[in-house]
Symmetry: C2
Subunit: 338 residues, 2 copies
């Protein structure tokens, strides 16, 4: 079914059909009624492809992300979609599932599908990314990294500050041997900056950095166990940490579970703290002290920035940092031997 067939059945021209569909001009009531009846009866819906081709706009935004099954990404994503949907945009979603090399392919896809803009949950930006994006000139907003390389707006997190403040909290509780369960430096904003915050807090407190207190793995639960186990099995008991700072929530949950199953009380024997605050952390036993970011808001901000960029409301690149807030719960306490 198309506009031509509709016109034939209604005994009018295709322009008239177009007019009633879009209310774009006056149509005599009788004709309008007749056409509407036929539309209702046939269940006709215009072909958006044809329309989009003509108006050179798709009302679709490409969203590129490495995974969606982490609460943090899911929350940002829902923030993005909330504002985009409210503004009449649809989402073409590319989930690379951590296959970083596929990102370039998806940028091309977005361009070929002529999306009106792109939200990019960045993990690592290469020169190829930059060249490609420059070439295709699509409105772009980066989430989780600087947008400088692309000369575009970005929404970032105060990762350094959050990590530093959390370690300072542990220092204030009297802890001196503070372990850190972290991840490699693939993802600049999270892994590097949070680790830097940890080191910076120690440094300012005049505590020497001890490499044996840092355990590097990945973001997943199993590593929280393994990391905690590694730290608590340092040969000299005096070397073992009295507090463990985890770079993200899953590591803390698993570390806390392992500690308890291994006979340590949390926080009486060992404190556990982290960054990121999925609802879960308020319901585990014990509840976990953390630094909270409003991920939904971060996503919504990025979405709004992109809309402003498309509208021309805000042409100049701008960078927003999301603040953290301290959530004191039950997993941190005074240093025992302190």
């Amino acid at each position: 079914m198309n506009i031509k067939e509709l016109a034939r059945r209604a005994g009018v021209s295709i322009s008239t059909i177009s007019r009633v569909i879009n209310n774009s001009a006056y149509v005599s009531p009788e004709i309008r009624e007749r056409v509407e009846a036929i539309i209702a009866e046939t269940g006709y819906r215009p072909n958006s492809l044809a329309k989009d081709l003509l108006r050179n706009k798709t009302d679709t935004i490409g969203v590129l992300l490495p995974r969606i099954d982490l609460p943090t990404f899911a929350a940002m994503f829902e923030g993005v979609t909330d504002v985009l949907n409210q503004n009449g945009y649809n989402i073409l979603l590319a989930n690379t599932r951590d296959k970083h090399d596929d990102e370039l392919k998806y940028f091309q896809l977005f361009y070929e599908k002529r999306v009106d803009g792109v939200i990019y949950f960045a993990t690592g930006i290469t020169e190829e990314h930059v060249r490609l994006v420059k070439q295709i000139r699509m409105p772009l907003v980066v989430l989780g990294h600087s947008g400088e390389a692309f000369s575009c707006s970005a929404v970032r997190l105060e990762n350094f500050g959050a990590a530093k403040a959390m370690v300072q909290h542990l220092l204030e509780l009297g802890h001196r041997r503070i372990g850190c369960i972290a991840v490699p430096d693939h993802d600049v904003d999270i892994s590097t900056h949070r680790k830097q915050g940890y080191r910076s807090a120690l440094e300012e407190a005049g505590i020497d950095f001890d490499e044996r207190l840092v355990s590097i793995g990945d973001f997943e639960y199993p590593w929280g166990e393994r990391g905690a186990a590694a730290l608590m099995s340092l040969p000299d008991t005096a070397d073992r940490p009295t507090a463990i700072f985890c770079i993200t929530d899953r590591l803390a949950v698993a570390a806390s579970g392992w500690l308890q199953r291994s006979g340590y009380r949390v926080p009486q024997d060992v404190s556990v703290a982290c960054i990121d605050d999925p609802v879960l952390l308020s319901y585990t036993q014990p509840r976990v002290t953390t630094m909270s970011f409003d991920y939904h808001r971060a996503g919504a901000t990025a979405g709004q920035m992109l809309i402003n960029r498309i509208n021309g409301t805000q042409a100049e690149p701008r960078e927003t940092f999301m603040p953290f807030s301290f959530r004191l719960r039950d997993s941190t306490g005074p240093c025992p031997s302190g």
Copy 2:
């Protein structure tokens, strides 16, 4: 930049350009080279809208779901996207955020955008849904419900069996007063069937159903606390449950946390069990006994069914039930007063 401009610059016709882009016919090496050089230099990429309009195919699948921030949905979604991406499809994602009424709007959108098929994470199917889908005749696969109303294939979960088997596990441990934290009957497959499984197991064991042992709330953590609190505050101590069966994982985590904070040992005083097995449940304290569904596989199966339907490989509707598997962990134990 378009094919016409390219033709002008290369001094050839647009068909020649098309031929080199698509490798659809022989082109003399010199011309091919010249054209490819210009393409590389301009960064030209064909407009998919025009192509899709012509071939009447978009290589895009619409995915309609109520939310993406639950591990179960996220896992199914990634299963879907894995097989679809592997088969060259892209994803137009509609996240209703539990606004059930928007579903119809998104079905229309999918049709207007001429997606090649739809995966529908169904929560409640109304007559309007059926009428609309019948009218637009798109290949469709339903996830989480019967596809009967649409005469389409579906992937479902053995919710009844999983719930029944879990309650039977508790019965075998000697429990007679088994609480249930559940949700209202909005979502047939999960809420109703799992509750029915609970009742069926009790019935077969000759235990009278006690309404006071069922607490109805929602899927979120806070309700796990409130539900557990309600069950454990029945006036007569003898009425209180010695085991709590939760309809899904979040409720169990929160219930277990609340019990421990309220002075109950899990499982020595009260056992906790549930259905659904996000990785988390292996890392909480205690680890939670549950029935596991392979959600990723469920999604992948749905994706493959849709592809088969589009190819014509499998035209007849078919229904697959995903089996459950028992994960015995640390949150369930013998009935104390046994």
